[in-house]
Subunit: 335 residues, 2 copies
């Protein structure tokens, strides 16, 4: 039995109560209400209404479980992205961690600035500098070594403001939303602009989303069996950018089906929401709006990482739900 997760057992209990005609009264008091960290209001009602419609047999909106695909952006949607993307914090820490092996970095930007803790100097190197940093920290090792490095880092790195582990800065209401969809037969995927291999080591533990359901940006990889033991080498060459118009393509490539529900927080998610909600039948789109300066961060439109203009403007006419973190969520982080 130890091989089964809590979720398996819950599912078994739910199924058993139906399929094996065990009186379900014994379980009724134990079944939690969905979305406890969401305030009652239009957004929560809209979520429950959608899930009920597509899972109720005989409903005109019914969707078979195999087609209940839900895709979530990660940065800013499932966890925080301020004051910088977590993966960038990882890259900066890695530069410092391996600087001793790169004496040339003392005189090379943006490495020199990063080592000195000068973020403005780093930013001055622009996108080209950023790509050099990502290349130096994300390639040149085997896939399994990178997984080990990312696993070690995520297990100990802490947010500069809250002092929490980054994995403790996931959004509790979104965890409940993932669980609610999962319990209703959805297949939940991450579709992120972030690096696929940076997320995969911890998404199962933190979100209950296994590695094969994590879609993201990636660099090229190459199989090498010339040594004593074969390895997959990570090359310093971009393979795919899973952002903007890349997200529907990433979905097509990894999932092979159009989602019926999509969740994002920026214009980088626009096309994913558009692709999802323009399909036939009942569809669901949602934007997490960071408007809670007291409990998290408030940033908007031009000030948003990657902007939020187009998606916010389109939301009313396209029927996308806009979550106010301030008003819709009772709590931000897990206890």
């Amino acid at each position: 039995m130890g091989g089964f997760s809590r979720r398996d057992l819950l599912k078994a209990a739910l199924l058993a109560s139906t399929a094996l005609a065990i009186p379900s009264m014994a379980f009724a008091n134990d079944v939690p209400q969905p979305l406890p960290s969401w305030n009652n209001g239009a957004t929560k009602a809209s979520i429950v209404d959608f899930v009920t419609a597509v899972t109720t047999e005989g409903s005109p909106d019914y969707v078979a479980p195999a087609d209940r695909i839900a895709t979530f952006d990660n940065d800013g949607t499932l966890w925080g992205e301020q004051p910088m993307y977590v993966q960038l914090a990882f890259a900066l820490d890695r530069v410092k961690a391996v600087a001793a092996n790169h004496p040339e970095w003392k005189n090379t930007e943006p490495f020199k600035s990063i080592i000195a803790g000068d973020l403005a100097g780093m930013a001055a190197a622009g996108e080209k500098g950023l790509m050099e940093v990502l290349g130096a920290t994300h390639s040149g090792m085997s896939g399994e070594d990178f997984t080990e490095i990312a696993t070690q880092w995520i297990g100990s790195a802490r947010h500069p403001k809250t002092g929490r582990l980054y994995t403790e800065m996931v959004f509790q209401p979104m965890l409940e939303l993932i669980d609610y969809l999962d319990a209703n037969g959805f297949k939940v995927f991450i579709v992120s602009g972030g690096g696929m291999e940076f997320m995969r080591p911890w998404t199962d533990r933190v979100y209950g989303i296994p590695s094969e359901r994590v879609v993201g940006s990636s660099i090229k990889a190459q199989y090498d069996d010339s040594g004593t033991s074969p390895v997959i080498n990570r090359l310093a060459e971009v393979d795919f950018i899973d952002d903007g118009a890349g997200k529907p393509v990433g979905i097509y490539n990894h999932i092979g089906k159009r989602p019926i529900a999509a969740f994002g927080n920026s214009d980088g998610d626009f096309q994913m929401l558009e692709w999802t909600t323009s399909g036939p039948g009942r569809r669901f789109g949602l934007i997490v709006h960071h408007d809670d300066a007291a409990r998290e961060y408030a940033y908007d439109r031009q000030s948003h990482f990657g902007r939020l203009d187009r998606a916010l403007d389109a939301a009313p006419q396209r029927g996308w739900n806009v979550v106010s973190m301030k008003d819709d969520w009772k709590t931000i982080y897990p206890q």
Copy 2:
């Protein structure tokens, strides 16, 4: 309840008998023995021994369900590949189906030969000609249109020798092997040199393998929201060849974990088997050997599509199992 599959209910019954302490005697007589179409012998014993070892808690070989990744080649491993790859038969049929829209093909090879039913003439155009045929039949439409085309074709096309639907020419012992692994908590994937989008429309129905667990070769795709409704366009440009050394890379990209079991039938599967079985802990590799001229086809080494030299030579020293279709399988196709 209608949303749950037969497999869900079986799993629920198995879980319920453990987790809810329902006496399991009621089910004992109904539990089928695994692999009924496999003759008792070394290969079957080796499969059962491996699965038992990695699923038995407390066993030194125990593997948690999340890491029980099994990858199967498709052509020649799960279904037949003679007298030609099924996907090539699809492409040739598509050339004929759309020839009326391409009057220029009457004078252009290899299309002219294909329309005339002259396979030798087609073959004379070599790999370049083949790529033109694949481009003309697999790109230039939306992803959803291609899915519809492939679905229609696979629902009616029949094998030239047996007259069966191609989906009825899957190998019954391999279906049982997939079910056996699935029932033991494995996640089963296809990792094929064939086109991902050609397989995905039917793998769930035929193998019980959903689209997101199908890894294969692919062409580039592009999101286009310039029209009234957004589409994903299939471009006439190769994106990834999931064969040979590409298979471990495809696995890394789509699954993100090294498999513990891999199943193939040619040298195109060599690196997948090598990558899988060179990992730490208990591993399993298997090669389907087509040696049954009476019930299927007999072909070997140089005569094999893509050859089988290297994998057969390596099998003994690497501990890979070689299935004799003639001796190990009671039956080839489903009834």
